[in-house]
């Protein structure tokens, strides 16, 4: 085992609870003081097929997985066949003795344990987890505590199964406890859900689609406590329009989708643009085009996020690189979309959405104030032309006032117009808002600098490539620059982050280098691009090799 580093892979057939098993391992490592990242790899089916989760604990900040595993937890032969080469020299395979043949390591008699405890087959994952905890030298009490929190039902039976496997296994190598404060571990989807609640969400609308469905599931489970409503309408078109209806009535709403659903939403995004209605969209990218790889990742929708919807109008696009950033920008997206009455898009991907991350609960951006209300402003003009371009918001019912929003070009009262002067004035009003929004963004640390800050070569990345780049940057002495906000683009913050850079290498999980093209618009010309477009994220080792090739 490397110092302050531990990697675990758990694999098995779909339906065997691999995702939950991975989450238990992630929580366990988190409780031992590690910062944790989990990557989940699964095909788009409910039963059958091979699933695996890789969980990495680190004394640093992991946001990417490593290729060598200290523990390989195998519920089927395929796990060993596919991942044996990932086992570190001093690593160990913990395996289901009934399923896996011709291997060495720690055998767990799962079939016998389940039979003796009269437990269903799905509890095999509790057995393998028990054996893992023992092999990793994790005390039973801590393990029991985590298992209790992670398993929703039949806790006693799961614990009994796990205990038998725990007692039967032997310790392989103790995973050392790190002396660091314990951070909670969340999936990006959960972190986004938390951020939306903090951003005063009242209604969440979504149509099921990987990789953002779990935001809906997470929030649905919190409806009572958080006093929110979660609703699944007939299509993404209905989803986004219901959110706009809520905005008109004066309550905050958000929606979540992936590329295909975002396609259906674009007409309404354009409507939000001209009608100046707040709208919060979580766009979780997956491999395209079209249905693509439904459960795998990509950063293929940067331009789509920036441009989806006809016509020209300002919007916020923020691309978080991990759960902590996703939470922070979910809150900021809610606030800024309300303050500026623009669509806000949180551009995540499968790795950020369904991956798990440790997050610092106190790391949150300063809240942004809403537009002052127009209580004393009578007669009310919904689209009053102001110095900032932001018109005061009021919501029906208001006695004696008429409140209109309009998808057409409109006058200050919201009545349709074709007048050229008003058409120009309303366009300029919208762009005034963008300039002020950009100024506000510049105050919000919209560009991260990671890796070796003093270097004159930059690894330029966005979204989920953040932490793989950070490690490659540190190892190879390269600065990493990650713009979190892509619209309005924080040109000043970006220029500061790029100060002294004479060579730019972009790193993205897409085919055409979208960020690479995008920054040319601002006068930056990348020298190299490192691209990956097989649906999988960069591993630490893989990116290190690719970076070395690029700089040599």
């Amino acid at each position: 085992m490397m110092e302050s580093e531990v990697s675990v892979l758990v694999g098995g057939p779909a339906g065997a609870g691999i995702s939950s098993a991975g989450q238990v391992v992630a929580q366990l490592l988190g409780r031992l003081g590690y910062r944790v990242h989990m990557y989940l790899d699964y095909p788009s089916r409910i039963k059958g097929g091979h699933n695996f989760a890789v969980i990495r604990g680190s004394g640093g900040q992991p946001g990417a997985i490593r290729e060598k595993m200290d523990f390989l937890l195998a519920l089927n032969q395929e796990t060993v066949g596919l991942h044996r080469h990932n086992l570190a020299a001093d690593g160990v395979i913990v395996y289901d003795a009934g399923e896996v043949k011709n291997t060495s390591g720690i055998a767990v008699a799962i079939r016998e344990i389940l039979a003796e405890e009269d437990a269903p087959a799905v509890m095999g994952n509790s057995a393998i987890l028990g054996a893992f905890a023992r092999a990793a030298g994790i005390g039973w009490n801590l393990f029991e505590d985590v298992l209790r929190l992670s398993i929703p039902k039949a806790v006693a039976l799961n614990l009994a199964v796990a205990r038998r496997a725990y007692d039967a296994a032997e310790e392989h190598e103790r995973v050392p406890v790190l002396d660091r404060p314990v951070f909670p571990v969340f999936s990006g989807n959960e972190a986004i859900g938390i951020g939306l609640i903090e951003g005063e969400l009242a209604n969440y609308f979504s149509y099921p689609m990987s990789p953002t469905s779990n935001i809906m599931h997470f929030l649905a489970g919190l409806q009572e406590e958080a006093k929110i409503r979660v609703f699944q309408p007939e299509s993404e078109i209905a989803v986004v329009l219901m959110a706009l209806g809520c905005a008109y009535s004066g309550t905050r709403a958000a929606v979540g989708t992936s590329g295909g659903g975002y396609c259906l939403m674009t007409e309404a995004i354009s409507l939000a643009g001209v009608a100046e209605l707040p709208l919060m969209i979580v766009l979780g990218q997956r491999t395209g085009p079209s249905t693509g790889l439904a459960t795998y990742t990509a950063q293929g929708d940067l331009y789509f996020a920036l441009n989806g919807g006809h016509g020209e109008f300002p919007r916020l696009v923020a691309a978080p690189g991990d759960a902590e950033e996703a939470r922070a920008w979910a809150v900021a997206g809610m606030d800024l979309s309300w303050k500026f009455q623009v669509p806000a898009i949180l551009l995540a991907d499968k790795v950020v959405c369904e991956g798990m991350f440790s997050l610092d609960p106190d790391k949150i951006l300063k809240r942004r104030q809403e537009t002052p209300s127009a209580e004393s402003n009578s007669p009310y003009h919904r689209y009053a032309l102001t110095g900032s371009g932001i018109s005061p918001l009021r919501f029906p019912p208001v006695k004696g006032e008429v409140i209109r929003v309009n998808s057409h070009v409109h006058d200050t009262d919201g009545i349709t117009t074709e007048d050229p002067e008003l058409t120009r004035a309303m366009a300029e009003k919208r762009w005034k808002k963008e300039r002020i929004l950009e100024g506000e963004i510049e105050e919000m640390d919209p560009v991260n600098i990671l890796g070796a800050r003093e270097s004159s070569t930059a690894l330029l990345c966005w979204g989920s490539s953040k932490w793989a780049c950070h490690e490659a940057g540190e190892k190879n002495g390269l600065r990493v620059v990650q713009p979190v906000v892509l619209s309005p683009f924080p040109e000043k913050g970006f220029a500061r982050a790029m100060d002294g850079i004479d060579r730019i290498i972009t790193v993205e999980t897409n085919e055409t280098g979208q960020l690479s093209r995008f920054i040319r618009e601002f006068g930056y010309h990348p020298d190299d691009t490192i691209l990956k477009y097989d649906g999988r994220p960069f591993t630490v080792e893989e990116l290190d090799t690719r970076v070395k090739e690029a700089v040599s």
Binding site: G30, R31, L149, V182, F183, P184, V185, F186, I194, I197, E198, E200, A202, N203, L222, Q223, E225, A226, K227, I228, R229, F231, P233, E234, S235, I237, A238, V239, L241, M242, A243, L244, G245, C246, A247, Y248, S249, G250, T251, A253, E267, A268, L271, P361, F395, P396, P397, V398, K399, G400, V402, R404, V405, N406, S407, H408, H410, G414, I415, T416
Partner: protein
């Protein structure tokens, strides 16, 4: 409040003789009566689609959301579930609501959303100058179907009835008193209220003589009888020669979506922060 107060200053751009004038008048009179009966006009929101009907947004002086073609119902749903005190009236067209946005009509009825949908059914696209719609008769000669359309119309009343609407009626733009009563009752009804309004398009599909010679008033005795409503709905299929019933066709009581899904009072900032702390603490 006077009737003129409900009309805006915007210049009216419908053709002279357009059935929309009659619908606008009936809506205005219904809103005046509702205002007198305790539903103040500021509590009413109209949501319009795109089409000649949509201009009602500009020509009325009440709260409104001028939306997208075919999409009045999900917008209205959002407005109403966020604030159930608002009475939301969708003003839609037949191309709009029966073609581009048909799924929302079916789901609005299925959920028994407590909103009202008025469909200005002139059975032709007016704004885009004369193409066939889902309720145009078979062999309708429009600009996209010079030899006559090859589709039979569907029957919106039958569709909405089987989808779960709890208030269904048919009006006629030249029968404004009846239409006014229908609209008022539709707004007062708790649940999904739907009125198909036979609206004259003087330019592209003038059915005045046909309607005048075929209409009669439905009896109002068995409004809660689903089977009787089916028979009424099927009497005229929007295609073949038959008497055309007008008035309220069906009314029943059923839990509304909003009643099943009440608006919770939002958390206060301190409560929200405490909840987030609790969620965080459960994970460490």
């Amino acid at each position: 409040m006077k009737g003129e107060d409900l009309y805006s200053h915007a210049q009216v751009t419908w053709c002279p003789g357009c059935g929309n004038f009659g619908v606008r008048y009936a809506l205005r009179e219904a809103l005046l009566e509702l205002d007198r009966d305790g539903i103040p006009v500021e509590n009413v929101v109209i949501v319009t689609g795109i089409g000649q009907h949509g201009k009602m947004f500009d020509f009325m002086n009440i709260n409104g959301f001028y939306g997208l073609h075919g999409r009045t119902i999900p917008i209205a749903a959002g407005i109403h579930i966020a604030n159930p005190d608002l009475r939301v009236i969708c003003i839609a067209g037949d191309g709009d609501c029966y073609a581009e946005g048909l799924e929302h009509l079916v789901f609005g009825a299925k959920r028994n959303l407590d909103i009202t949908v008025l469909v200005h059914d002139n059975r032709v696209y007016g704004l885009t100058t004369g193409q066939y719609t889902p309720t145009s008769p078979f062999r309708f000669r429009g600009r996209s179907t010079p030899d006559g359309s090859r589709e039979h119309p569907f029957n919106p009343l039958e569709l909405v009835l089987t989808s779960g609407a709890t208030f269904i009626g048919r009006g006629y733009s030249r029968r404004q008193e009846q239409l006014k009563d229908l609209i008022r009752e539709a707004v007062l009804h708790r649940g999904f209220s739907f009125i198909d309004i036979l609206q004259i398009c003087v330019t592209y599909n003038d059915m005045t003589e046909y309607y005048n010679s075929h209409i009669y008033d439905w009896d109002q005795d068995d409004l809660g009888d689903f089977e009787a409503a089916c028979r009424k709905a099927r009497e005229w299929d929007y295609d073949t020669e038959a008497p055309i019933g007008l008035g309220l066709m069906y009314r029943s009581g059923k839990e509304t979506f909003e009643e099943l899904c009440p608006v919770p009072e939002q958390l206060k900032p301190g409560e929200r922060a405490a909840l987030v702390r609790k969620i965080m603490d459960e994970r460490r």
